[in-house]
Symmetry: D2
Subunit: 156 residues, 4 copies
Amino acid sequence: MNEHPTILGRHRLRVRYGETDQMGVVYHPNYLIWFNESRDALMSGIGIDVAAIERRGYRFPIVEVGCRYLQSARYGDEIEISAVLHYQRVARMNFSFEVRHQTSQRLLATGESVSVVTNADGKLLISLPAELKLAIEQALQRQQEISEHQPKENIS
Amino acid sequence: MNEHPTILGRHRLRVRYGETDQMGVVYHPNYLIWFNESRDALMSGIGIDVAAIERRGYRFPIVEVGCRYLQSARYGDEIEISAVLHYQRVARMNFSFEVRHQTSQRLLATGESVSVVTNADGKLLISLPAELKLAIEQALQRQQEISEHQPKENIS
Amino acid sequence: MNEHPTILGRHRLRVRYGETDQMGVVYHPNYLIWFNESRDALMSGIGIDVAAIERRGYRFPIVEVGCRYLQSARYGDEIEISAVLHYQRVARMNFSFEVRHQTSQRLLATGESVSVVTNADGKLLISLPAELKLAIEQALQRQQEISEHQPKENIS
Amino acid sequence: MNEHPTILGRHRLRVRYGETDQMGVVYHPNYLIWFNESRDALMSGIGIDVAAIERRGYRFPIVEVGCRYLQSARYGDEIEISAVLHYQRVARMNFSFEVRHQTSQRLLATGESVSVVTNADGKLLISLPAELKLAIEQALQRQQEISEHQPKENIS
């Protein structure tokens, strides 16, 4: 997915007791909940309030998801999730995720998800809502400007 | 709650892996999910399809819930939940629950919940939907008839 | 529960997408997960790391819980939960909770839970772990000192 | 994964209220919980009690999972999940899943997961527990015999 411009968001959370299972580690489907939360935090970070955009009739169902679990997360752990939007100018949002133990930066899991856009009745839309497209392009523009002034570093 | 007519429903389920936590037993909020499922199974048992009645614009939010945990449930356990509707002829449904280990009939937890009725916008309604009221009263009538013919036994 | 000394903890969270149900509001068992998280945050606030104390062989199962739902919480809402420990010097911790919408301070729910202490095999202990007891008493002592210097205000 | 012998298990469930989200459909991470439940039902179907084998010190953590969502599942829907074990004689179990609406047999989602085997401390084992290996090979043998007598049909 390297050819597309990307936007990075970082999200932090602490593992809840109920997120563990009897193996003593985080039950694996919970990583998808974290991915979802990180995606929304990224959106929020570029000025998109997912709750508000849903009230205007849009939905962003996930149509594909994958996760590879490398090391366990445990109750109380501080977790950092990097979400990267790979922007393709179509009504389909590809995200990739890295889940790390916050202090050690050990990589716990990687994953990806694909979201589409529908109206409130679930009908697939063929373009992103204008406000979302604008927010993404403005974020990319800001990144570009930062990159030109600080050529050796780019947040994504 | 003894003074009101009651309807009993029994519901069975098997404990899922993800319902456990790192104590090795069922994480306590899951019992409320089981209560909810048992309530719906009871409704279904008297001919009410909760999904269908919601599509006609009714909602049955829970406004109060309580649970006392006596013994642990474990992954793979077959669980039996008795849900009892204490019918009060008002737009408020009081349920009580007993959670048992199916084979041993050991009592694992007891609980209760109160549901009200709202429209789709969350406005509180002051009477039960007619179809629900009818279904409850027919179920009570059937029970009454059974009780008259088999005076020593009553399913509730 | 007024007669016992109390310790207050405040915990904030943002409602996750997956915490909603098809009524469009937070699914009611999730409040118990929030209570649990708030309890642990309070413990952490007085210097007790619940994960660490569990590794030393203690468990704090919840044996009783109740919740009353007053108003709905929605996806994206910033929530503030006040957890209050009502300290009774026995191996039983009574907590009460208030769930508020953070900005408006509207009260969404109230609840309470009772935790006991067991060893790793689930055997009930008749006294709190010494380190927990000490942490609670030190927190109460600090509060007392604050209270003496600022007589008109008390964090609990 | 066609080259390996396969074992099929079917599992049925009814969508719980709390499995929906505010889109009015099943929240996507719940499919992974269903996959997990179906995997365990398949194991149970060939005579392996996952709870019991865990008590003997084995764990079967999932190291990789994927899901593609084709159509929505809704509250109250009867769901049928086909789980297929693709047996490779190594200490790694590859499963694939199909989630269908039970009555219409509409395909709702497909997925796959990979489980490894560890001891209770999380140490990776390089072979399956003997009892599991035996159960799988006996199930394959029974299938083979059925297949020889009814050449046109094979449950997998």
